[in-house]
Point group: C2
Amino acid sequence: MAEDGVKTIGWVGTGVMGAPMCGHLLDAGYEVRVTNRTQQRALALVERGAKWCSTPAEAARGADMVVTIVGYPADVREVTLGPDGVLGAVQRGAIVADMTTSEPQLAKEIFEAAAGQGVGSLDAPVSGGDVGARNATLVVMAGGREQDFERALPVFERLGKTVTLEGGPGAGQHTKMANQIAIASGMIGVCEALFYARRADLDVAKVIETIAPGAAGSWSLSNYGPRALRGDFEPGFKVDHFIKDLGIALAEARRMKLALPGLALAEQLYVATSARGLGQKGTHSLLLALGELSGASWGAGPG
Amino acid sequence: MAEDGVKTIGWVGTGVMGAPMCGHLLDAGYEVRVTNRTQQRALALVERGAKWCSTPAEAARGADMVVTIVGYPADVREVTLGPDGVLGAVQRGAIVADMTTSEPQLAKEIFEAAAGQGVGSLDAPVSGGDVGARNATLVVMAGGREQDFERALPVFERLGKTVTLEGGPGAGQHTKMANQIAIASGMIGVCEALFYARRADLDVAKVIETIAPGAAGSWSLSNYGPRALRGDFEPGFKVDHFIKDLGIALAEARRMKLALPGLALAEQLYVATSARGLGQKGTHSLLLALGELSGASWGAGPG
């Protein structure tokens, strides 16, 4: 039985986010059973003491808590509900936590399936990017039952600086969607303001300095503005991942019969950004796509 | 001759911004000659020692510096270049400064006309709203010649906490436009995120608290989010004034052949907001118009 403190953790997904997060749990002394679609990417963790498992089911076997952090909702479904999935092997009384940014409806479906076999379930997507994952400064937005959240909290606190239970099943994913919706249109504002400033022959660095402390200020302006000025469009957060998230948000808004024209425009502009070969660049490379829309080069201007 | 320090100031426009700004100059000991379309709104300043003048020309007569802060670009044109305008009476060696948010092209036109009669000209719009005007914490974004800016600086510093010369004539207005462009789409992101959160039955206050410190954070989210939660849609900055500014920005972008789809959407959504009777409310009342778009009431949800 796993009703006491979490000691053994099954970990599914060792990508750019999952690998450093799992590493923090090894450092904290948890016994970790790890699996990943590509075994190669889990080897460093195995060398540090994690036990390699060939399937999510095997990683889940005997664990007090199982964390999944994979790519798309379809991957979440496969590793959780699929034939070799977590719920086929996890013990009664354990907790499963999906930290992928995924669909609120799928989170509710997994919660119901888990509850049917006496397993707690949390959706717990994060923000803060790969830097936050490496430095354990993520924001964890959880949805589920309070008692499951309390048991998982010591684990989450190894991964992030802010950990909040936002509500019932799906509430973590919904909160992450609200986060992405605010970022999406905000980034349009930042990129359009920067391009306008450059086309107007302003000293763009000075403009950022002038407007960032006031009502136009945002995390995106202060963090991505200077990077764009240096011509640095590395992620941060990748355009193609953002398109996935915005697609989920649009589908959820549609389901709730909520029209969000700004979100729809943002998604289209990011599709255009990806179409121009920038899918693996940072979200602020929207700036480059905006310029190309007008046949204008970002690099050519002053400042 | 007015080549030395500014002692006498002509002040044109005593609206919600202009009146408190002019008051700060009276407090600082400047001799002020004031005019306004509606005399009534200048009386408090006259009681405090300003000399009432019936036209902008009369206010400008003998002044070392003339400040205009009126409503629309057409008003700026009238009070500056019109028959009873400032440039018809201002002395050689003086400086005129337009602090209205107005057209960069008009700022250049006024600069040229002023230069032709030996008068310095600055465009110097502000951000910070009526609160910033009352507390003298405005941001002043100036365009023009360095020597004119240096002479006007002691006056500007009575009005704002940040005063920057952004470049040549028009650069102040262009900077203000960049500021408004960033705010416009940013506010769409904030309002859509808040409405999404409420429709998803989240605790919206908790969502703001969770996402505001991270990549979704912005001045608008932190300042207008809580007001919207309280059902407080008072300005701040009025929707109808914002529509004016966005129209100027769109026209300038068009002139520069720069397509800004986010700005275009924002302007349309604000027109819709005004059309629903919210033109005198704050810019965050976009939230209400967004809800009505989906037949949803902001007030009806939890949180």
